[in-house]
């Protein structure tokens, strides 16, 4: 069944839509989820995706249903990963925010959303200008809460090199935030 026809089923709130969507894209989505999560979590994530698609169409009316569902799946998977690593992440974030403390905007001066958007823009710009390897190192440490040893093992690099690289990156980020 073509995407447009499946979308029509969603619009009519016909439950066959999910079966058709699963038949068309289930395997592809499961593979995409399994790249990020364990098998069990991947299965749950895919099931959550069907629900999200059901809840969002309508009002959404995507042209490319597969890409649309995959985007939802990836967001769910990344949220799940962040939640799974939340505890470990707290500690690493304290370390990062201590380093950047003087440069971070005062969240009580701006509105919360403005402050978050400003810092997000700076982070995105900073990460965009880094190599893929350094970017991954930084995010493994501060987004997923990995220890320096775990980051070194994941990247296949010596511990000292990772430690030094992360320190230099924090310094660079501090300079960017100051300016």
């Amino acid at each position: 069944m073509r995407d447009a026809e499946i979308v029509k089923l969603f619009m009519k709130r016909d439950e066959r839509a999910i079966a058709e969507l699963e038949g068309q894209y289930g395997r592809r989505l499961f593979r995409a989820a399994e790249r990020l999560l364990s098998r069990e979590d991947a299965e749950e994530c895919v099931n959550d995706t069907w629900l999200q698609v059901w809840n969002h169409i309508p009002p959404d009316e995507p042209d490319h249903l597969g890409a649309y569902a995959e985007k939802i799946l990836k967001n769910l998977a990344l949220n799940r990963l962040r939640a799974q690593n939340a505890l470990k992440r707290k500690a690493t974030l304290i370390e990062l925010s201590d380093s950047l403390s003087e440069c971070l905007p005062d969240p009580y001066k701006d509105t919360e959303n403005e402050a978050i958007a400003n810092v997000t823009d700076v982070l995105n710009e900073f990460l965009r200008n880094e190599s893929r390897a350094r970017r991954n190192m930084f995010l493994l440490r501060y987004l997923y809460g990995k220890s320096v040893e775990e980051v070194a093992e994941t990247m296949g690099l010596p511990y000292e090199r990772v430690k030094k690289t992360l320190w230099r990156m924090k310094e660079r980020l501090k300079e960017i935030m100051r300016s």
């Binding site: 974030l93 958007a117 893929r132 970017r135």
Partner: protein
Amino acid sequence: MNKNDLLEEALNHIDPKFAEAAALKMNRRNRKSAKSPAWQPGLLIAAAALLLALVGGGIFAITRMGGRPGNEPTKPTEFADQNDPTNPSQYNPTSPSQHDPTNPVSPDEPSSDAPRVDFMSEMTFSTDRKSADYLSSFLPFGDRVALYSSLWLPSDTDEAATKANEEILRSHLGELYYTGLMKWYMVDDSVNLKNLIREEADGRLSLWQFSCFQTWGGDMLQEEFPGKIIGDYEYKTLLATFYHVTSAEDIERVEILPTTGVRSTGNGTPAGGVQPILIEDPHDIQSIYDILRKMVCSGTGSMVDNAADVNSEDFFNAVNAHPALRSSLERDIRIVLKDGSSIQGLKYSAFQCAFYENGGIAYGGLGEEDIVAMNEFAEIRLEAMP
């Protein structure tokens, strides 16, 4: 909200592509450490044996992977010239914009991978391009925003080559396509928008090539191009919008050729030991079209991680360490359409389990069955994995 929470929220909202790439790295590492490495020495010995066979001028004698998807692909006796002229399309330029944003692009994929059309073969391209020589620019294209990358820019250091190239471009200036801060012209009288000629502020000319539709850009790009779709897209969108291909019936034949990619072969000459293959059977064309149409482009700088579906990370690393192997696992794809035009610059990599186009734009989202089928069509034979 304290500063710690602020940082946490900001990190939660970074570009999802960055977060995904790091997560993939993390998960791949987790899966690899759980896997038995018992067969790894065998793989390295196999890779070394393949390399020796190449060096000795021997033959690849390796086992086919998977079964045949359908009829035998037929072998051609001759091909049309790869520089066939293209036919006009029906695109109408949009109204002019007042801004022409340009961003420098990392030269990860040199333009020597780009297909050559007649007039380009007359031009001189530097082999020593620096990062400052790679520019990109956004242009409106239908309901999307197209990213064009510079192929050649006038230079103050090589006046003779610049003058000669400019004369060639001036003699191929076609209809005005778009006026922003600078003017963009089509090439000759064709309405093929694959290549455009730009008139710089000082009146000199430069040559550009379409890279992809823009898939990210934030508020600034949305402001610049209101109402345009900016996001990931399936290749069928490009096929329909750019090439007017809406079904397999628009395709005359598919040519699967030895790769000439500089990154694969080292010097741009066709990979040896690989025979061109011509796909003309309508069922086979339909199968290839079904694979191509659903692959997804996430734009520049995106990662394609299909390889984990079919090939292990160790295979990936082993082939990466031996470029001669890599060129045997990659093919240039040329799709000849029934209207006489052709789609060039598409490359298939059984090594990366993905397609690439226009100097490194990656297309992923292929499943294992798609890769197996493409390998069959391209007669790419992989060492049997234990």
